[in-house]
């Protein structure tokens, strides 16, 4: 809209200062709106860290603030992955924690002691303002500052980005999207100017990005792809050479300084494209130089052949190295990007994460609303101009669209480019329709207008871009189009606010529901249970739970966990899965071996909370089956008709599994006889619930969402726990007073003690 305003002034040069002030004001307003719209959760609930991963980041930040950077670097965490421990300092992306740690120190330096929790909670909204600014800069390079402001506004409130950056969502993505956009901006700048300084700056922010998010691989592949496409289009130039070489050399060396990344940039397939393009561009540069020196046509052909030959040889070498194992092959997560069914078959642990599922199409509209249909138009507009930087947008759009379709969480990388292209579209429409003056009917006039543009486009482009510029004659159509788009924009804002408020502002640690009278009812079972653990168990107690809750237990209950959301050890997770899926006899040995004191399960059957452990149970079974196919079999958890049942028809394997027993232990006693009902699965439960022998119920939260069991100690008298329960229940075990010690009555085989 600012574009529209700026067009009102007849002489752009005279109003430059006014417009720059306006730009600053508008950008600040956008940043304020971006921050404000992310504060729903703080206002509704409280200043609390959300979900799962943020709890680890929060804990790590606290550690950083408390122990300093060097201890953080060498942090060996003995309270997770018991008893393996985790070399946390070397297996995380430290960018996020270091950022908030730096902010914490900076604020203290100016005598503003702020609790680290509040910094962590508000980091994501704060950075979303910066993201809007980076998007502005990026789009400005593509079109003009008007489009930039629109893109910034879109970026500030697009739900696709808000979903990962509301207050409390203290995850790597919180700062990574800003870094992504800013790195791309610097890259465009470097490629445009052919400046080693901008290339170096780009490498610097690339390093920051590498230190913050595993998604840096997206940049690592997108920039080389951009360069590759440019070379293929015959647009190789010295600017590209300088920009790419300085970015790659500096960026790669810098990225290798992050402990978690280490030598990956020279050893794994994900990074080989960047290395290959680096080699290719040296060749191309060399050939280009020689061509300048040697005018012979035949020699040129020879050179071209040489380039192709070397490329082929290099590629073959790469394949050979990969096959022989010098270069690590693509990781499982990447295979699942090409084949969405891959993970489900080979690595259930990746498939079990809901974020890694393919995207359902309505979520594109849900997360991007009108931007999604402006997106192709924007890409088309880029084709019309097709300068080097527009090629980047096109490449980015294609890649991001694909990845967003494959994995839900990659919607996040699609959102920025959608905002940018949509802004270009809207801005173009406003450019065209907000012109108050109707064009003169003479052809010369429009031609002269066109010629101005044509000069800008002399860099290349499609034929369509050279078509004569017409302009809009009718005021009515102008008003109609402008009005329609104004309505769209207003609707977009309404939609974004609604989505943010309703879908993305729940901390998931605290649940909210409505009472019959409409008042809000807070369900706080998780914190209740974690607080119970914190207050009632010894500080070195080991808690076993499914890995989803590992970070929360570590963060909120401050207790040692066996597995957590950093799923680096599949076997250890499978061990927990096996303990959950097996009979008590088998599980008890596993629990003893791992010195587990308490077992925690999430059960939603009473309240209808569908994200509970019984619903996740099949993943536990699958992951355990992957490691112990002989002992745990998924098939046995389904009824003969192939149904996953928890009621009376459930299979014996299901009913005897530890998870089932822990979930439904004493559940039937809540209801009148015969009417026990699981509200999540809509199943009627048998009136006689499961019996636990090796565990004692220790705690059940108010709404039964969290249930904690204590693992019994070994029996004092060397009996197994089943014999103990039998004895305590008064059933005299069949140890006859007759000729005891014999297997079968009087004539049986005598038991011999050695």
């Amino acid at each position: 809209m600012s574009t529209a305003k700026s067009k009102l002034f007849k002489d752009p040069a005279s109003t430059e200062s006014v417009r720059s002030i306006l730009r600053v004001v508008i950008l600040l307003t956008i940043a304020a709106a971006a921050v404000a719209s992310r504060l729903f959760s703080v206002i509704r609930f409280e200043s609390i860290i959300h979900e799962f991963d943020p709890w680890f980041n929060f804990r790590a930040s606290k550690y950083l603030v408390k122990h300093g950077f060097f201890d953080f670097w060498n942090w060996f965490d003995d309270r997770t992955w018991y008893p393996l421990g985790r070399v946390t300092g070397g297996t995380l992306y430290p960018g996020l924690m270091v950022t908030s740690g730096a902010i914490w120190h900076a604020l203290r330096m100016i005598s503003l002691p702020v609790d680290i929790r509040n910094i962590c909670v508000l980091l994501a909204p704060g950075f979303s303002g910066l993201t809007a600014f980076a998007t502005y800069l990026f789009t400005k390079e593509m079109k003009d500052s008007g489009a930039g402001l629109l893109a910034a506004a879109f970026m500030g409130i697009a739900p696709g980005y808000i979903s990962r950056s509301v207050a409390g969502s203290y995850d790597n993505e919180a700062i990574a999207i800003f870094l992504l956009m800013f790195t791309f901006y610097l890259w465009i700048k470097a490629a445009k100017l052919g400046s080693a300084m901008w290339g170096g700056l780009c490498a610097l922010f690339y390093f920051y990005m590498v230190s913050a998010w595993g998604g840096y691989v997206f940049i690592t592949n997108l920039i080389p792809l951009h360069v590759f496409v440019l070379i293929l289009m015959g647009r190789y130039s010295g600017r590209i050479y300088v920009a790419y070489s300085s970015w790659y050399a500096l960026g790669t060396l810098a990225s290798m300084q992050v402990p978690f990344v280490g030598f990956l940039p020279v050893k794994t397939s994900e990074h080989m494209a960047a290395l290959g393009i680096f080699g290719l561009i040296q060749l191309v540069a060399f050939v280009d130089y020689l061509r300048g020196q040697v005018p012979s046509k035949q020699f040129n052909t020879l050179l071209r052949a040489l380039v192709i030959l070397i490329t082929v040889v290099a590629f073959t070498g790469l394949v050979t190295l990969t096959v022989t194992g010098v270069i690590a092959p693509w990781s499982g997560r990447f295979y699942s990007l090409w084949d969405t069914g891959y993970a489900k078959i080979h690595i259930p642990i990746i498939a079990s994460v809901s974020e890694h599922q393919p995207t359902a199409w309505p979520s594109f509209f849900f997360d991007l609303n009108m931007l999604i249909w402006l997106f192709p138009a924007g890409v088309y507009l880029c084709f019309r101009q097709l300068r080097d930087e527009h090629v980047f947008i096109i490449v980015y759009s294609v890649m991001a669209s694909y990845f967003a379709g494959v994995m839900v969480r990659l919607m996040l990388t699609l959102t920025p480019i959608v905002c940018v292209t949509a802004a270009i579209t809207v801005s173009s429409i406003f450019d065209t329709y907000l012109e108050i003056d109707s064009p003169e009917e003479q052809d010369e006039d429009s031609d002269s207008k066109k010629s101005k543009k044509a000069k800008e486009l002399s860099g290349g482009g499609f034929l369509s871009s050279k078509a004569p510029f017409i302009g809009i004659y009718s005021i009515t159509s102008k008003i109609a189009v402008i009005a329609a788009f104004s309505v769209y924009l207003v609707l977009f804002v309404l939609h974004c606010t609604w989505v943010t408020s309703n879908a993305y502002s729940s901390p998931s640690v605290v649940l909210a529901s409505r009472m019959p009278d409409g008042s809000q009812h807070i369900i706080d079972d998780f914190r209740e249970a974690y607080y119970w653990l914190r207050k009632n168990t010894p500080s070195d107690a080991k808690i076993m739970s499914w890995w989803d809750y590992g970070y929360q237990i570590g963060g909120m209950a401050d207790r040692t966990t066996l597995v957590d959301n950093n799923t680096w050890n599949n076997t250890h997770i499978a061990t927990v899965g096996k303990a959950m899926a097996s009979r008590e006899e088998v599980s008890y040995d596993i629990l003893r071996k791992h010195e587990v004191d308490y077992v925690l399960v999430i059960f939603g059957g009473l309240l209808g909370y569908s994200g509970d452990d019984i619903n996740k149970f099949l993943w536990m079974v699958r992951i355990a089956e992957g490691v112990w196919p002989a002992e745990v079999q998924e098939r046995k958890f389904f009824t003969a008709r192939g149904e996953y049942k928890v009621d009376a028809e459930a299979t014996d394997t299901m009913k005897n599994s530890l998870m089932y027993k822990m979930s439904y232990y004493k559940f039937a006693s809540l209801f009148p006889p015969g009417s026990a009902q699981d509200r999540v699965r809509g199943a009627k439960l048998p009136s006689e619930g499961p019996v636990l022998h090796t565990l004692d119920e220790a705690f059940t939260s108010e709404n039964w969402i969290v249930r904690i069991y204590k693992v019994k100690d070994l029996d004092q008298f060397g009996r197994d726990h089943f014999a103990v329960s039998a004895f305590e229940a008064g059933k005299k075990k069949g140890k006859k007073t007759g000729l005891a010690g014999r297997a079968g009555g009087k004539k049986g085989r005598r038991a011999v003690r050695i």
């Binding site: 670097w73 003995d78 070994l714 004092q716 060397g718 010690g741 003690r753």
Partner: protein, 463 residues
């Protein structure tokens, strides 16, 4: 640890309350018997009282008898004498004995010697819970090859040697002066299951067997024999996981006054009285109780300044030492492991990475009076994680020592690796880097300084 602390505390409390008391569990002893039976065990009871036990006598049927008050043990030790009654009273169900032992109390159970007496069902249940099998009414052990009294036709009083054990097991049951003394035994015997918590104290002679005196008075075949030879146990001791002790004596006469006489065959005094002392002393924790006086571990990294630290590093030397003492009637003395046995240390993460013997050593940091220090030094494995120093010393008749100390073994910190120039293999590469750096600077210098001769430089380049 809890165990040690508790035993030490108990010892302290009992020392304060009754200077005479000597059992580590405590002196309060309950005798469950009827008055007429008491006369047969006068010596046993007076011997106990002489050693500092305070006895309370209750009839099994007594209604005022209670083992627990306010969920606390009322008695430290219980002796169940044989009774003519069919069952014990309502206050003595089998579960009350289990509860008593769970709370750390000891129980000595004397089974009737006469085949005519029955065993109360509470005792049978208790026995079955601790993996001991009792014969039904009417069984008796005989040894036709070595009867105590050749005149006695049934041969059901037998002569038994004092117990002997393999050389890796300490023998607490032959403390009498006469090591060759014989024991007089009359009773039905026991059979043991395979639980490691129950250990035979006294086994029957090789040719003895236990048979049904009623059904097969003239001969015994396999169906009527309860058990025989070494599988037939006369006295068995159970030590629960919390080191409470339950002893079953297959025939009460073993400890009765009438056995504390001369053996007719050898004309020597029987060993019964001394054996009775040994059995009661072991059961009531006067012997065979180990105490951990101290555990120390320190690493090469910080030296002896940091003892019992929580963090070690991979591939570094660590020294571990544990001081053990053993209780003997009224004092602690250094514990000396049997010659063929060793106290072992495990360094465990899920599975033991090390299981090494702990030799007795004098190099420990802190020397404890009256205890032996076992110590060893080893190198932490090349694996980081939470490791446990575990001393799991569970031997027959010795109270359980299961000490665990969890420590973190961390990885190398980023500045603890050998620096690049410290690795000789890296020198060519480092040299290469510096050649390039110097060469490049030299080239730039050359380039800048050669600027005035533009024509020449460009001419060269154009080649």
């Amino acid at each position: 640890m809890g165990l040690t602390l508790r035993s030490v505390l108990t010892a302290l409390v009992s020392l304060v309350s009754l200077s005479q008391a000597i059992s580590l569990t405590g002196p309060r002893t309950l005798l469950v018997l009827e008055e007429d039976v008491k006369a047969q065990f006068q010596t046993l009871i007076s011997d106990l009282e002489a050693r500092g036990f305070t006895t309370t006598t209750h009839s099994p049927k007594s209604t005022s008898l209670t083992l627990f008050q306010h969920e606390k043990r009322v008695y430290d030790n219980i002796i169940l004498f044989p009774t003519k009654l069919k069952g014990l009273g309502p206050n003595l169900p089998s579960s009350s004995f289990l509860k008593h032992a769970t709370a750390g109390g000891n129980i000595l159970i004397l089974l009737p010697s006469s085949p005519d007496d029955s065993i109360p069902s509470a005792i049978t249940e208790l026995a079955s819970q601790v993996d001991i099998f009792l014969p039904p009414k009417g069984f008796a052990v005989v040894n036709h090859f070595d009867p105590a009294d050749a005149i006695e036709p049934e041969h059901d009083t037998l002569l038994v040697d004092l117990p002997s054990f393999p050389s890796d097991t300490k023998n607490y049951f032959n403390s009498g002066d006469d090591k060759a003394a014989k024991l007089l035994y009359r009773g039905a015997g026991l059979a043991l299951g395979s639980s490691p918590l129950v250990q035979p104290i006294l086994k029957a002679p090789r040719f003895a067997y236990s048979y049904d005196t009623k059904e097969s008075a003239s001969f015994a075949d396999d169906e009527n024999v309860f058990s025989a030879g070494e599988q037939l146990v006369l006295v068995a001791g159970v030590q629960t996981r919390n080191s409470a002790r339950i002893t079953f004596v297959g025939g009460a006469d073993l400890l009765a006054d009438k056995s504390f006489t001369k053996v007719a065959k050898t004309n020597q005094m029987s060993g019964n009285r001394a054996f009775a002392k040994d059995v009661t002393a072991w059961t009531f924790k006067e012997t065979g109780v180990l105490r951990v006086d101290g555990i120390e571990h320190w690493g090469e990294e910080f030296g002896k300044d940091v003892v019992n630290g929580e963090v070690y590093r991979i591939k570094h030397d660590v020294t571990f030492s544990i001081a053990l003492s053993e209780y003997s009637y009224d004092h602690f003395e250094p514990f000396v492991a049997p010659a063929d046995d060793a106290v072992q240390l495990e360094f465990t993460m899920l599975d033991p990475y090390y299981r090494i013997p702990l030799p007795a050593s004098s190099s420990a940091l802190t020397q404890h009076k009256n205890s032996t220090t076992y110590s060893t030094t080893f190198k932490t494995p090349d694996q980081h994680g939470v490791f446990t120093f575990a001393v799991n010393y569970k031997r027959p008749f010795l109270s359980n020592v299961h000490e665990k100390r969890a420590v973190t073994v961390r990885h190398f910190a980023h500045n603890e690796w050998t620096r690049s120039w410290g690795i000789s293999g890296s020198w060519p590469w480092i040299a290469g880097i510096w050649v390039v750096v110097v060469g490049w600077i030299g080239f730039v210098g050359l380039w800048l300084w050669s600027k005035p001769v533009v024509a020449e430089g460009k001419g060269k380049k154009k080649q």
